[in-house]
């Protein structure tokens, strides 16, 4: 890849972000973040999940307003806090999940809210001709009169880029655009991004795939814990250096991992495959063991554990629990054999938000707690009480609806609900996403204690420190396959990130 030859000393930046900070409640999402962006460059923005990339992008998009700091565009103060103002000032953000209107035509998706007007009326013909020109300018053949429904993610991104160009955007921000693309589609996107660079646009490219960053970008900025920790020319850096910058912190006492002597094999997964999701996944978990599954979002981790538990079906392979084959696609059978899954998205999959804490905790035990066909409220409260104490749940009353609890306490209720079934195997998917540090430590302590008591735990997590701090063994997935397995002693951040991003293969 050619360097643009952009010299920082030579030109003035198009966009300057200086010492921008932003907090949500007590959580500091951005801390003195700074970034310079030049016309004619593709600039990579890197960092672990939760490093603050999204908050920064959303500030540029006009979704958030920074608490402090200055953003300047072409020397002028950038007006924040309005998506419309951001578009008008020439900043376009293309989200990982493109936000098109499925019922409208592609032409209208490009021009919505800014349709060409002829004698006071929307001029459909001009709109379609102009969209066609934009698509062709990007080298893509799309029909402007087709509806957006059913368009592939890759094509949706092209429509979003066309939309950005139609607003005469100077700064085009792409948030993990390649996460859902095939290799061929990635190549096409790169061509488009290079075209944008050549026409004097400034492109921000967020990606977890380092090989892509090195192939496409001229400079990169790394974020960690809400701050920008370094900007470098791609030509002057190596993948190892980037990983070093991204990780950069100590794995602290947040992880009270107890030493265990693994017992008998609890779960055995053999050659599990599901078309389009994952291929040939095999692993074992022993009693007392915590098995961490690392990998990028979209690498197939959640899909595997969902298939193991029976939420989704699979095409090939087998799941064996304590020597007995587990029938596929039946969560209720998995539960009765002693399996439990704490899902990734607790709002949607784990809790009945308007229902009481007591009922949520006991919902997995309905049969046990019922007298005849009626549920006994007393029994329900007893279970909730017990687990509320174990988990140090902070709530006024167990009869409060779950939606009134904080995220951390909601997560505890989900855990209570599954621990109440006293499972042999507990699967947790992103157990501490979006919860504060204190609660995080409590959840970790609990997982560790349960493992010590002989429960087998499978933990999917995007947070590297968590995976490394809690797991006896770490499996790494990439693009639907298991690409690495590390014992606790040999699992280092560099190895795990390397395997997850594919950097290892080339070394």
């Amino acid at each position: 890849m050619l360097q643009s030859g952009r010299n920082e000393a030579g030109a003035t930046p198009m966009l300057t972000i200086s010492n921008v900070s932003k907090s949500f409640g007590g959580v500091r999402a951005l801390v003195d973040a700074s970034l310079d962006l030049y016309a004619g460059e593709v600039h990579a923005l890197l960092g672990e999940n939760g490093a603050g990339k999204s908050t920064l992008l959303k500030t540029l998009a006009g979704v958030h307003t920074a608490d402090s700091g200055v953003i300047k565009l072409n020397g002028q103060e950038f007006k924040q806090g309005s998506t419309k103002a951001s578009i008008e000032q020439g900043v376009a953000v293309i989200y990982q999940e493109p936000s098109l209107f499925p019922d409208l035509t592609l032409a209208e998706n490009v021009f919505i809210g800014r349709q060409p007007i002829k004698s006071g009326l929307v001029d459909w013909h001009t709109m379609e001709v102009e969209s066609k020109k934009l698509f062709e300018g990007l080298g893509i053949n799309l029909n402007p009169t087709a509806k957006a429904r059913g368009l592939s993610i890759a094509d949706q991104q092209i429509v979003e880029i066309a939309k950005a160009l139609s607003t005469e955007a100077q700064v085009i921000v792409m948030d993990e655009p390649t996460a859902a693309l095939s290799a061929k589609e990635v190549d096409r996107l790169f061509e488009v991004a290079n075209r944008l660079r050549e026409t004097g646009h400034a492109v921000v490219f967020v990606s977890h795939r380092l090989d892509e960053v090195f192939a496409l970008c001229q400079r990169m900025t790394v974020m960690r814990d809400g701050s920008t920790v370094g900007t470098q020319l791609i030509a002057d850096t190596s993948e190892a250096q980037v990983i070093q910058l991204m990780v950069g912190r100590e794995v602290a006492e947040l992880f009270p991992k107890l030493d265990v002597q693994p017992g008998e094999i609890v779960l055995k997964v053999e050659n599990l495959s599901s078309d389009g999701n994952f291929q040939g996944v095999s692993f074992e978990v022993r009693a007392g063991e915590i098995l961490g599954i690392a990998g990028l979002v979209g690498s197939g981790r959640s899909e595997v554990v969902r298939a193991v538990f029976g939420v989704d079906s699979y095409d090939q392979g087998s799941v064996t629990l304590l020597g007995q084959r587990v029938p596929k696609a039946s969560p209720s059978k998995s539960m009765s054999r002693g399996m439990a899954l704490v899902p990734e998205d607790r709002r949607q999959q784990g809790l009945f938000m308007p229902t009481s804490i007591a009922r949520n905790s006991a919902v997995t035990l309905l049969k046990k707690l019922s007298r005849g066909i009626f549920l006994s409220g007393k029994n329900e409260s007893k279970v909730a009480d017990k687990w509320g104490k174990v988990l140090q749940l902070k709530s006024a009353s167990l009869l409060d609806p779950v939606e009134r609890l904080s995220g951390g306490n909601q997560q505890k209720v989900v855990l209570a609900k599954w621990l109440a079934t006293e499972p042999k195997l507990l699967i947790v998917d992103e157990p501490t996403r979006g919860i504060d540090v204190g609660t995080k430590a409590e959840v970790h302590r609990l997982l560790s204690e349960k493992a010590k008591e002989g429960m087998a735990v499978v933990m999917v997590s995007s947070e590297l420190p968590e995976v490394l701090g809690m797991s006896d063994r770490v499996l790494v997935m990439r693009e639907g396959r298991l690409v690495g397995s590390f014992e606790r002693s040999e699992a280092t951040p560099e190895k795990v990130i390397g395997a997850a991003t594919g950097a290892m293969n080339k070394a």
Binding site: S99, P102, E108, I112, G113, Q115, K147, G150, S152
Partner: protein
Amino acid sequence: MRSLKNLVRARELPVFAAFLIVMGGTSLAVPHFFSGKVAIDLFLGVAVIAILAVGQTFVIVMRHIDLSVGSTVGFSAFLIGDAYSKGMGLGTGMFLAIGLGLLVGAMNGFLVAYLKLPSLVVTLASLYIVRGIFNEFATGQTIIESEVPPAINWLGLNRFFGIPYLFLIGFALVIIAGFVMKRSRAGRDLYAIGSNPQAAELAGIPVARRVFFAFVATGGITGLAGAVLLGRFNSANPNSGLGLELLVVAACVVGGVTIAGGAGTVYGAFIGAILLQGITLSIGALGIPQFWQQAVNGSLIIGAIALDRYLSTRVKTTTIMGSKNE
């Protein structure tokens, strides 16, 4: 050529075809069914529903619903007659009727757009509130023919080249609203809001303002429909318009205005209203017990939803690049 292709692919076409089949089938079974009188009945029956369906389309396209229209249209009709009977004239009556509609619309719109309350619940509440105030106001009285303003009475009884004026009023409104929905930015914004509300916010569309004014417009149109309702029956009482809101929603859904928002036209809703009215007349002519009519209407709604679902899943599998997508 292209407009012909669009016509063939239009979602409205099968609805109109169904109407022709119903009318044709009934004509075969009951000779002389399709007479001038049936045509007039059809036109008159469609008029009020068509006007209300215009307003309802604004709202449903945004993924909302307005159940208050039945109460408002009845109260509006009553107000026009009441004002006239108290010597206030047609102008004042129309002012009150449309004013009531705008007020109810503004209330609904404010609660839905700015306080983010669900429109189903908000408009269900205003359905009861308006009907309650209406009953209190009317105290059991009925507007009789002599209390109907002569201009409205005249519109209700007369025709233009054989077509009732009331129908023409509705038809004109449908054409105007259809044009506005297709050719104005504000109209297109309604589709965008219903198709993907979050994306509409991100695209800089003033979502709350659009939702508010769409409810206000629906209210105003509903007030106007009160005059047509009064002209149609030449009377009004505290039960006027009772249950009409569901018939209107049915007309919209049958006509291809998808309840999930983002798709459908006022023309479709209009044709939906014609189909429902045609079925009413056919069932009467065939001597089928009246309650079957409601069952048929219900089946039509399910059929329409099934058709929409089928059409949208069929589109889903034909991606343009042929690349993988969930």
